[in-house]
């Protein structure tokens, strides 16, 4: 069905002649054997029937041969006197003439119908092809897939070799697929492609311009301007009708290229809008976070400088200033950590570590916060040394514990557990006795700038996203759930080496 429309005409033509001659001879021979049973007039009708039937299958000229041959045979073998072309009666002569005319008309009419049918079938095939092409182009994603769809369909119909699409502005042309053999930087082909982009006419092999090139270049028109060039390797010369069809296909592919280019632009715009949104969120939350402690420090110092207050008030103010500074410092640490993460240059430096050191470092820096809770650490006695990046892991535990202390009610228990799971897994979990997470929080917890639904004032929503970043930088994973007895439970898994040295 999807063969080239003119394919194999020579071979079928010879076949047609053979079929025509063989059928006529065979039927004639049969009639000759039965000549005593049937009159020779019946034979003429039989042969007429055979020629009409052949008209259904055969081309015009083999059919003419069949008509002529059957007329001659009828005359020679059946019309008396036999074995001569001479015809005795006027009636028989008229019969032969009519036989010949009917056979010819039959053949001509039939073949005309068949030609029309063929044309209709070709039209249908093209419509079908265009439909298929449209359909596949619709689902194709990106220029690269567009190229492979174009290659598939154009290859089928026009015996075209590979296809390449060139897009871009004058100096910066992009060829897709990038490894297309016909294009080396500044090759002649690239120059022709550029020429086609500028002049908006087809060029290359079988065209009026650059006809010595091995490729054919078609301009891809999108809206008012040429947006790209479609190039064919090993093109074949096409008949005018096929050229029309090819151009229809090219129009379709051009439309697709245009859409792809537009979607690239839209994607860029989307990313821009997203980063703008992110910037605004960052700006709002951080300017708030920076201003509050600074305001506290400025306010406190102003009061202190006026020297009108008793020692107890002054002590309280000093304490406020100290708290504000710690908060500022924490924010700066978080921002620096975030930018380390975003820069993509975060490389963990694992070294042997006694996890007690980790815990002591964290509890030391969070002494004030943890003073309000009952803080429990669970580490098995046979805990081996593990190889981890101390700084990153410390920050992970720090953020998790600090978070728990900010969300859980004062006086409740916060549990930090560390254990080693064979083979090669360090499990760190922090559990509190707060209200746990809602479904929505569980989905967004580790996103940058996300704040819990009952977030206390202060905080930037950076803490847990840093946790995830630092854990993933070490090849680990982090999960949040609600504990069996309620409360938040965050578990970190890090791939580690454990020391096999036993000092005993």
């Amino acid at each position: 069905m999807k063969k080239l429309l003119t394919e194999g005409t020579d071979r079928t033509a010879i076949g047609h002649y053979l079929i025509a001659v063989a059928t006529v001879i065979a039927v004639s021979a049969a009639c000759y054997l039965a000549r005593n049973l049937i009159g020779y007039h019946v034979v003429s009708l039989t042969l007429l029937l055979v020629v009409s039937l052949l008209a259904v299958f055969l081309d015009t000229i083999p059919l003419l041969v069949a008509s002529t041959l059957s007329a001659l045979i009828w005359d020679f073998f059946f019309i008396p006197p036999h074995f001569t072309l001479h015809i005795g009666s006027t009636e028989d002569l008229l019969m032969l003439a009519m036989f010949f005319i009917v056979a010819l008309l039959n053949g001509i009419l039939t073949s005309r119908i068949r030609r029309q049918e063929l044309r209709a079938r070709q039209r249908e095939e093209r419509t079908d092809a265009l439909y298929q092409l449209t359909k596949e182009l619709l689902v194709a994603n990106g220029i690269e897939e567009t190229v492979s769809v174009a290659e598939k369909y154009l290859g089928q119909y026009f015996k075209i070799g590979s296809v390449a699409i060139v897009t871009g502005e004058d100096r910066e042309l992009q060829v897709c697929p990038a490894d297309f053999s016909g294009f080396t930087p500044e090759s002649k082909n690239l120059q022709i492609a550029r020429w086609v982009l500028q002049n908006q006419v087809k060029a290359g092999r079988f065209t009026d311009n650059f006809s010595d090139a091995e490729l054919t270049f078609y301009p891809a028109e999108g809206g008012e301007k040429v947006i790209g060039v479609i190039c064919f390797l090993n093109p074949v010369r096409t008949a005018p009708l096929e050229e029309q069809f090819l151009e229809a296909c090219i129009a379709l592919i051009s439309g697709k290229i245009e859409r792809e280019l537009l979607s690239l632009v839209a994607k860029d715009a989307f990313i821009l809008a997203e980063s703008d949104k992110l910037y605004k969120t960052l700006f709002n939350s951080i300017s708030h976070e920076l201003r509050i402690p600074v305001a506290a420090i400025i306010g406190a110092t102003d009061t202190l400088l006026s020297e009108r207050y008793p020692e107890t008030t002054r002590k309280k103010l000093y304490r406020e200033m100290s708290k504000a500074s710690v908060r500022l410092n924490r924010l700066i640490d978080n921002l620096l950590n975030m930018s380390r993460l975003e820069s993509g240059h975060l490389t963990p430096h694992p070294d042997w570590c006694d996890v007690h050191d980790l815990v002591n470092k964290v509890t030391g820096s969070l002494e004030q916060e943890l003073g309000l809770f009952s803080f429990v650490t669970v580490i098995p006695d046979d805990m081996p040394l593990v190889s981890i990046d101390f700084g990153l892991t410390e920050q992970v535990i720090h953020n998790l514990v600090l978070n728990a202390s900010q969300y859980a009610p004062e006086g409740t228990e916060i549990t930090l557990s560390l254990r080693y799971d064979k083979p090669g897994k360090l499990i760190i979990s922090v559990a509190d006795q707060g209200r746990g997470f809602t479904e929505k929080e569980l989905n967004n917890l580790f996103h940058k700038f996300y704040r819990g639904e009952t977030a206390v004032s202060g905080g930037t929503g950076l803490g847990l996203s840093i946790v995830r970043g630092f854990v993933e930088a070490q090849g680990g994973s982090v999960h949040a759930t609600n504990g069996e007895r309620g409360g938040a439970l965050i578990t970190v898994e890090l791939p580690v080496n454990a020391s096999e040295i036993n000092s005993e």
Binding site: D351, H356, L385, F390, N502
Partner: protein, 240 residues
């Protein structure tokens, strides 16, 4: 934990008034240090650039130098190296650069101690006292006391609550090294070289195992050490 001798030292400092050179380009930082340190009895000289700092160091021969690494004219590590070509007194680095690499590099290049900004002034004062004490008094006392722990360097003994602790010879060498440098941070590499005679940083696994063992023997609660402290990613510090 403060050492008994340190407290005495503090009293001595108040009388003599050691000279401290502050090399820092931030006016506000110099002012804070000047106020804090002179209130604690030290004499102060200040430099805002590396060049000026090197000049003043050679002119005044300060008892201690506080050096910021981020100076406008000369790279901090270069100043450190150039100072160390002739300057023997303690140099404490005070910098916003707080990565383990920077700290280890500074210590290996001759810095006596390292504090990251922002810092607690109380901690800075303690480090200054320790550094000056180590530079001034050659430690000839064979008996070092840390609360309920006594280390006798002559007799190779460690005594806790009046009872002799059983230590292997390597454990004792390690403990003695740390105790002799009480208050100072010693890098992993330095400790490995001093105790085992090699400096391959890959061997820190052994070091940690030994530290864990010593802690079990000398600390009241080995999971919350008060004597043998970890400086994560850098090394160990004893006593403060």
């Amino acid at each position: 934990m403060l050492l008994k001798s340190t407290v005495n030292e503090n009293e001595r400092v108040m009388k003599t008034g050691e000279l401290i050179l502050i090399i820092d380009d931030e006016v506000q930082m110099r002012r804070l240090l000047e106020i804090t340190l002179s209130a604690n009895g030290y004499k102060i000289s200040e430099a805002a650039t590396g060049k000026e700092g090197l000049n003043q160091a050679s002119q005044h021969q300060p008892d201690l130098v506080i050096l910021d690494l981020g100076l406008p004219d000369i790279e901090g590590f270069d100043i450190l190296k150039r100072l160390r070509e002739w300057y023997r007194n303690p140099i404490i680095i005070l910098s916003v650069r707080n990565s383990e690499e920077d700290i280890v590099r500074a210590l290996d290049n001759g810095a006596s101690d390292y504090l990251a900004k922002p810092f607690r002034t109380g901690e800075l004062l303690a480090r200054i006292r320790v550094a000056i004490r180590h530079s001034k008094v050659p430690d000839n006392n064979p008996r070092l006391e840390f609360g309920n722990l006594t280390i006798d360097l002559d007799k190779h003994l460690a005594i806790k609550n009046g009872e002799v602790i059983k230590l292997t010879s390597t454990e004792f060498s390690l403990l003695a090294l740390l105790a002799k440098n009480a208050g100072r941070v010693l890098t992993h590499q330095y400790i490995l070289k001093e105790v085992w005679g090699f400096g391959q940083i890959e061997q820190t696994q052994y070091l940690r195992v030994f530290v864990a063992q010593i802690r079990k023997k000398i600390e009241d609660d080995s999971s919350k050490p008060a004597l043998l402290l970890t400086e994560s990613g850098i090394g160990y510090r004893f006593g403060i």
